[in-house]
């Protein structure tokens, strides 16, 4: 029987090891190795940090790197601020049917491809788009207005794309907050603001952390929204990775970029977990 259990264990372990080993761990090690080699001549390579050096000294690369990081953090904060009241409404104020319907409505954009969502924003915002027409019709503008291809449009798209991943964890944690605890806060003389700060937000913290991590990851790794809605100046780090790999075929530099993106995302996720004293298992699992 023990031998049988052992065979079962090994059989179950194999797929996991193969999957993680061949598709996650070894490819990432390989990507790192490629990023630290320099091509000397045909088929001759040498280990060097030249690509990282290039990435860290070239102003365009460095600027794009930090811009992507800062904009992703900004998108995360905006998403949280917009989503929190809505999540609270769904979890605590809506009742019965309405609650279920609102929750399902929040899920809709998730079931629609990101491409379709971005396309929708393009139709709305472009020069010949709906909003431009509306403004002219209302007399607020006397010529077509171009609202596409700038940072604001890109931000609208980023927030829209990741909204669901903030609302759902928030609703889940807020629903578990007992009404009587909030009532007690008021009975003890708390104001709306102090109850929010002392009771509601601490209780919602797990939801806030997991929502923020996922939204940040999605924004950082987004390619479609910055490409389609952002302007010439809103270059995103993922676009540079794509350009190096597919357009210029400079895999070494592209791999270095990819590794930098990976490190950036790991550091920020780790920092957020550290700051709130939570583990990855609790947050995602």
């Amino acid at each position: 029987m023990r031998a049988q259990a052992r065979i079962g264990f090994i059989l179950l372990l194999m797929p996991l090891i193969l999957w993680l080993g061949l598709l996650i761990i070894i490819p990432h090690i390989d990507m790192f190795l490629i990023s630290i080699r320099e091509r000397i001549s045909f088929g001759v390579y040498e280990t060097s940090l030249t690509h990282y050096q290039k990435a860290l000294t070239e102003p365009l690369y460095l600027r794009t790197f930090w811009r992507t990081a800062v904009m992703s953090v900004l998108a995360t904060v905006i998403t949280l601020l917009i989503a929190f009241p809505v999540a609270y409404y769904i979890a605590k104020m809506a009742r019965g049917r309405l609650q279920q319907v609102l929750f399902l409505l929040c899920l809709i954009p998730f079931y629609v491809s990101e491409l379709v969502r971005t396309f929708g924003w393009m139709i709305l915002l472009r020069e010949t788009g709906i909003i431009s027409h509306l403004l002219q019709w209302a007399g607020l503008a006397d010529q077509p207005v171009e609202m596409l291809y700038n940072d604001a449009a890109m931000m609208v798209g980023l927030v829209y794309t990741s909204m669901l991943f903030m609302v759902v964890p928030l609703v889940t944690t807020l629903e578990s907050l007992d009404d009587s605890v909030v009532e007690a806060g008021y009975d003890l003389g708390g104001t709306g603001l102090s109850v929010l700060r002392e009771i509601i937000i601490p209780h919602a913290m797990p939801g806030i952390v997991s929502g923020c991590i996922v939204v940040f990851m999605l924004s950082l790794g987004n390619y479609l929204t910055p490409t389609m809605l952002g302007g010439k100046d809103s270059l995103w780090f993922t676009e540079m990775i794509y350009n190096q790999f597919i357009v210029r075929s400079n895999w070494e530099l592209g791999a270095a970029f990819g590794f930098m993106l990976l490190v950036l995302s790991s550091v920020i996720v780790w920092g957020m977990l550290r700051l709130t004293g939570r583990t990855l298992q609790e947050t995602l699992g």
Partner: protein, 283 residues
């Protein structure tokens, strides 16, 4: 607020309006995409030139509908094929993972669990390039060693399937684990007491219990694969799945044909999602 806590009328009004505006913001882009699928014009924008079905059923230029547009139909087929492969593979591996983490205690379990979660926090594009880099290292190595050229290790459908599989498996594992944790082990023990072997017990007792989660995982994996863009973009060869094909057209400028495709996509995925919700509620 909570019903027992009094709130001024103006506060409630402002709050209600905010929530309403939020849902408008959610629905607006999708509604616009859907509406312009019926515009009788070459552009998905105002002015409104009248209602038409041509972007679905049109047979001749300049308004060829979805159902007569070869390129789009082929891309849908490619996407469906990829999504089926990814869903099957990831649910199989997800099930074995769930059993492994649920049933066995072993050294390194915590570490393996964290590793299992990692694909969720790796940006899709980085997953894509790492798989691309590794497979071409393999292909080049084989060529140098034995002059064997393995075409399937070059960008193409196999790499797209593997790339998507690499992170969708994590989601399948989480979905199936959540259900397996609720399973009452004594039921399985009862089956063993009644003379069933371990395998028979799992097949006749545990797997039927898991069925809703398995079906849920298949649907979610299928949808995620069908809609995936980032990872696919880095690994795609000559056969473009639907999202890539639409992206290429969108870059060149769009016709309401794209709206029509989008509308069908929305309908398809909402039907799948709705079916799943009803199915799980029925249980």
């Amino acid at each position: 607020m909570i019903p027992t806590i009094p709130r001024s009328r103006s506060f409630r009004l402002i709050y209600g309006t905010y929530v309403l505006l939020f849902f408008l913001y959610l629905v607006l882009p999708l509604a616009v995409v859907a509406t312009f699928a019926f515009n009788n014009s070459q552009f998905p924008s105002l002015p409104w030139e009248g209602f038409t079905w041509n972007w679905f059923f049109g047979e001749e230029r300049p308004q060829i509908g979805v159902f007569h547009e070869r390129g789009i139909l082929r891309a849908v087929g490619t996407s469906a094929f990829v999504a089926l492969c990814v869903a099957t593979l990831s649910v199989c591996v997800g099930t074995t993972n769930a059993f492994l983490f649920n049933r066995y205690e072993f050294r390194g379990k915590g570490l393996l669990y964290v590793l299992m979660l990692l694909p969720l926090v790796i940006p899709g594009i980085v997953l894509g390039i790492s798989v691309l880099v590794f497979s071409s290292t393999l292909a080049n190595g084989l060529w140098d060693l034995a002059q064997i050229d393995l075409q399937f290790l070059r960008p193409g459908l196999l790499l797209v399937i593997l790339g998507q599989f690499s992170f969708i498996t994590t989601i399948a594992t989480l979905v199936i684990s959540a259900r397996l944790q609720k399973f009452d082990r004594t039921l399985e023990e009862a089956a063993l007491n009644l003379g069933a072997t371990q395998l028979v017990a799992v097949r006749t007792v545990t797997l039927p219990f898991l069925a809703p989660a398995l079906i849920g995982a298949i649907v979610v994996a299928f949808l995620m694969s069908f809609e995936n863009f980032n990872t696919t973009l880095m690994l795609v060869g000559s056969d473009a799945p639907l999202t890539i094909a639409m992206f290429d057209r969108l870059k060149e400028g769009s016709t309401p044909l794209l709206n029509a495709v989008s509308l069908l996509l929305m309908l398809g995925s909402s039907l799948l999602a709705l079916g799943l919700i009803l199915f799980q509620r029925g249980r």
